[in-house]
């Protein structure tokens, strides 16, 4: 009995170990020389890519140049931007200084330069870095830098290869540029979302407060304070991320005002697992969804409405569910809103969905369950930790 158990355990551990090994190693195996060469080249290129995706600067150049040199098959390599040499690999200072001039020429003319052994200024006929090629790097048709490959001699093949590598670098710098502009667009959209909360809501809130001013001045005062808190929070500029607790406080001040407006037409249930209050999420994710439920779900309905906000702890994630029993919506219409093809009332949903997926990855967007007349439930999953997401 004991022996059989040992055997089963060992087999189970080996099987699991095998799976883990496979997952870690990714099933690497050797192939024909051509396959190996292609693999080596692509692998080296993939190692250089992440550095280049950060844009062209001293630091990214220093990290990318060793891989670029391998790709070029050259003895030494150097990378420069318009300001001068950024990083070199296997090139001593003397040669780096000698490279400055041809790099500048390549950048100003926008054409590759060949350095034949007899033209290069070093003059030492045994020098291993006496010849090479310099090719300009262009982003969207504008020269932004130059790449040099050095060796004992220069050849047409080397020039052709350097041209391709420069193309590869350009592609990734273009992607880096794209990343930056997308991030700028996201930030602009967030600012827009902040600005966009107000008109409708500000009007409603102020008229609600106004209705209390005579009948219940104390209540009106409290609501006004809440309103001030709300606007301060939503317009504050610092921090792209907030904790769930902060976001809930905003929802609370918002709902306080809505409660006053709807009085007994709106009943609210909140269930929060205290373990997830520390979860960090992009700011203004929760409140727009709640506002959406009130404005497009409960407000158009004739009956009294129920709104429930449930935030549950699910191991590595917090699961947020915002549900109303209002008028609901046509799923195909909502699909268009989410994909951004229909702009009108669902801008909040679209924006929140976009930002969640931009921050946490494609599988963390909004899930919406709805039908006309059947209410709406919006679900989102927030990871408890995601690299780079920090208050």
């Amino acid at each position: 009995m004991r022996d059989a158990l040992w055997l089963t355990l060992i087999v189970a551990i080996l099987a699991i170990g095998g799976v883990a090994w496979f997952a870690l190693r990714g099933g690497r195996h050797l192939g024909t020389p051509t396959q190996r060469a292609t693999y080596e080249a692509l692998h080296t290129a993939s190692l250089a890519a992440p550095a280049l995706r950060a844009g062209l600067n001293q630091d990214s150049a220093a990290r990318a140049v060793p891989y670029l040199r391998t790709l070029l098959g050259a003895r030494g390599a150097a990378l420069a931007d318009l300001g001068g040499t950024l990083a070199t690999e296997n090139v001593d200072e003397e040669h780096a200084a000698l490279l400055e001039a041809p790099m500048r020429t390549a950048m100003s003319r926008g054409r590759p330069q060949t350095l034949a052994a007899d033209q290069h200024a070093c003059g030492d006929s045994a020098c291993p870095l006496q010849a090479g090629v310099v090719v300009p790097i262009q982003v969207d048709g504008v020269v932004v830098g130059a790449l040099a490959a050095m060796g004992p001699a220069s050849s047409a093949g080397q020039l052709r290869l350097a041209g391709e590598v420069a193309q590869f670098v350009s592609r990734h710098l273009e992607l880096a540029e794209l990343d930056r502009s997308r991030r700028r667009a996201d930030q602009a959209e967030l600012r827009f979302l902040r600005a966009q909360i107000s008109p409708h809501f500000v009007y409603n809130a102020l008229s609600t407060i106004e209705s209390f001013v005579r009948t219940d001045p104390e209540r009106a005062r409290e609501l006004l304070i809440g309103f001030a808190d709300f606007t301060r929070y939503s317009f504050r500029s610092h921090g792209q991320f907030v904790t769930m607790a902060e976001e809930l406080r905003l929802v609370d001040t918002y709902l306080d005002l809505e409660r006053a407006r709807f009085s007994d037409r709106l009943s609210i249930t909140l269930r929060v697992a205290p373990e997830v209050l520390s979860v960090v999420l992009p700011s203004l994710v929760l409140q727009p969804l709640v506002e959406n439920a009130v404005r497009h779900g409960i407000e158009p309905s004739e009956r009294a409405g129920k709104l429930s906000i449930v935030i549950a702890d699910a191991d590595n994630e917090a699961v947020v569910s915002i549900e109303d029993d209002g008028v609901g919506a046509d799923p195909t219409y909502l699909g268009r809103v989410l994909s951004g093809t229909s702009q009108a009332p669902g801008i909040g949903l679209h924006n929140v969905d976009e930002r969640l997926r931009a921050v946490f990855g494609e599988d963390h967007g909004l899930t919406i369950e709805t039908a006309v007349g059947a209410g709406t439930r919006v679900l989102m999953r927030i990871p408890k930790f995601h690299a780079g997401v920090h208050v």
Binding site: D59, V272, S278
Partner: protein, 574 residues
């Protein structure tokens, strides 16, 4: 034997846990409730929850059992289990909370920017949690055996299945309030019986406990053998035997000569008063003086006791930092300061608890020497109340300790299995409820099989190994990651592989029965003494050789770890 009250207590714990779990989420309907519902978990409650999850079968049953079997040196485990939180308090709690990492793989990836390191850390999570789960299941086996009788593997299997089903179905979650309740239940369940028994025991042997005398049956004693054992008799004795002795069925008086006798499962032997209690053949018979020695013994034998003691001290002092299922609880704290406060309350709560296993060990030595004879030392907390207190009182106190032991098993193993299933589904298989369930079942099956294999090893020794592996892998990763900017992911991976690998290998070889004497027994059986320095040296050495791999934004990361929350970092312009 079947004790309906004990069984009832176990069922009651399970039911109360389930009910509390279902009500664990606070509900708010009126505006005034709203902020209450969203209120943070206060440090005291969170500290209780951490203790609830931490005080496992090892603390509840194992320490008393091991101290009874191997002598008071085993109390080093209790000291270490509590003192580990001092290291956690001083070096880890607040920075880790500020960093915002939920699991150790999260921290590894966030601090050193390496997905590969994340996977290596995930594998270590599985190894540590797996080793930690073994003794929990074993403890559950003992507890169920105490309640319904029969061999202990039935309990291991039944409870393995219960916990796996509970987690896979989503019904068992690590809700703070439930875990906090489990701590107080455990404290009451061990403190009340210990204090009542202290009052009850008016024993003449209380005075001459010193000297070279072995434990003696001071009254006529019936010893039950639930599992087959080999028993070593010191002095010829005539007993009444019912069952199998030396392969022959007996029912009547029987003279046993000095030497080893094999006893079949289910046998009962009745010893006359005044005989020295025989022990299980594999354990040494300790005189009182030997028993009192403050150094750690390995299987009751004195093998380089100082080195063994340092091995236990290193493993337990540094191991608590690296327990995957405990660190996730710190995420619930609001900020670094709250994390620190929580840790100091944990220290206090643990210190209160660990007084009582020592009382049980001492009373067990005086009142229940038959546990040496039947090799059931690990169940001393469960059976001592019934052996020492007569009638209903004994049964009630027994039911109480059984309930506490079951709570210990339940809370720790659910936390461990959730950590394992989360690690597998999150990092190895891909997210989703389905993969989480599959992972929970797979992990549960492997560990249950493992628990059946390691059957005969003391609970506390098994837990000590889980600590040794954690101390040789995650402890250096966390300490260096938090306090040393020079750590690189390559250094961390090599450290995890060498430290974690070497300590796991030592433990597996010891379980397989290799190296039972001399230095091999110490170095394999208490591996922390060399694997902890090895892991630290590897991480530092390899990191120094791979300085190019230091993350570029290491300064920003260290700031995130150490800057108090009041000071906000400026936004990075992209």
């Amino acid at each position: 034997m079947t004790e309906p009250l004990v069984l009832g207590a176990i069922v009651a714990v399970a039911v109360v846990t389930a009910v509390l779990g279902a009500r664990g989420v606070r509900v708010a309907r009126t505006p005034a409730d709203f902020l209450v519902a969203a209120r943070r978990v206060p440090p005291t409650l969170n500290a209780s929850a951490i203790c609830g999850e931490y005080l496992s079968a090892a603390s509840f049953l194992g320490i008393a059992g091991l101290a009874l079997q191997d002598g008071l040196g085993a109390l080093w485990y209790a000291v270490g289990y509590a003192a580990g939180y001092l290291v956690l308090l001083a070096a880890v709690a607040a920075p880790l909370r500020r960093f915002g990492a939920y699991t150790i793989p999260d921290f590894a990836e966030g601090r050193l920017d390496s997905p590969l390191l994340r996977r290596a850390a995930t594998v270590m999570v599985l190894v540590i949690c797996g080793f930690y789960l073994l003794p929990q299941l074993q403890g559950a086996g003992l507890t169920v055996q105490e309640a319904v009788g029969g061999p202990s593997w039935i309990g291991v299997v039944v409870l393995g299945v219960v916990v796996v089903l509970g987690i896979a179905s989503g019904g068992m979650k690590g809700i703070t309030f439930v875990q906090a309740f489990q701590y107080w239940l455990k404290l009451v369940a061990i403190a009340v019986p210990a204090l009542v028994l202290l009052l009850l025991v008016q024993h003449p042997a209380l005075t001459p406990v010193h000297g070279a005398a072995p434990p003696v049956f001071h009254k006529a004693t019936r010893v039950e053998f639930p599992d087959a054992e080999s028993m070593r008799v010191q002095r010829a004795v005539t007993v009444r035997a019912v069952g199998t002795v030396d392969g022959i069925r007996r029912d009547g008086t029987l003279a046993l000569g000095p030497g080893d006798h094999s006893i079949g499962a289910g046998t009962t032997l009745s010893f006359p008063a005044g005989t020295p209690a025989p022990t299980v053949s594999s354990d040494a018979l300790l005189s009182y003086r030997q028993w009192e020695s403050p150094l750690v013994r390995i299987g009751g034998h004195v093998i380089h006791p100082l080195a063994s003691t340092y091995g236990v001290v290193l493993a337990t002092f540094l191991g608590a930092i690296g327990l995957p299922h405990i660190l996730v609880r710190f995420y619930t704290n609001r900020d670094g300061e709250a994390a620190r406060k929580t840790t100091s309350v944990v220290l206090l709560l643990l210190a209160c608890f660990y007084v009582f296993p020592a009382i049980f060990a001492l009373l067990g030595r005086l009142e229940a020497p038959q546990l040496y004879t039947s090799g059931q030392t690990d169940s001393v907390v469960l059976v001592l109340p019934r052996l020492a207190a007569a009638g209903t009182l004994g049964v009630v106190l027994s039911a109480l300790t059984a309930a506490g032991a079951f709570a210990a098993f339940l809370s720790t193993s659910s936390g461990l299995l959730i950590s394992m299933a989360g690690a597998v589904s999150h990092d190895l298989l891909g997210r989703g409820v389905r993969t989480f369930r599959i992972s929970a079942v797979a992990a549960g099956v492997v560990v249950t099989l493992g628990a059946l294999v390691v059957g005969g090893i003391a609970i506390n020794v098994l837990v000590g190994w889980a600590f040794a592996i954690a101390a040789s892998s995650f402890c250096p990763l966390l300490l260096l990651g938090i306090w040393w900017p020079g750590l690189t992911w390559k250094g961390a991976i090599w450290g995890l592989a060498l430290g974690g690998g070497a300590s796991s290998l030592g433990v597996i070889l010891t379980i397989a029965g290799i190296g039972k004497t001399g230095w091999p027994a110490v170095l394999l059986g208490e591996p922390a003494i060399w694997t902890v320095p090895l892991a630290f040296a590897t991480m530092v050495g390899v990191s120094l050789l791979t300085r190019r791999d230091i993350p570029r934004d290491v300064t920003r990361k260290l700031l995130a770890l150490h800057l108090p929350e009041r000071v906000r970092l400026p936004e990075v312009s992209a």
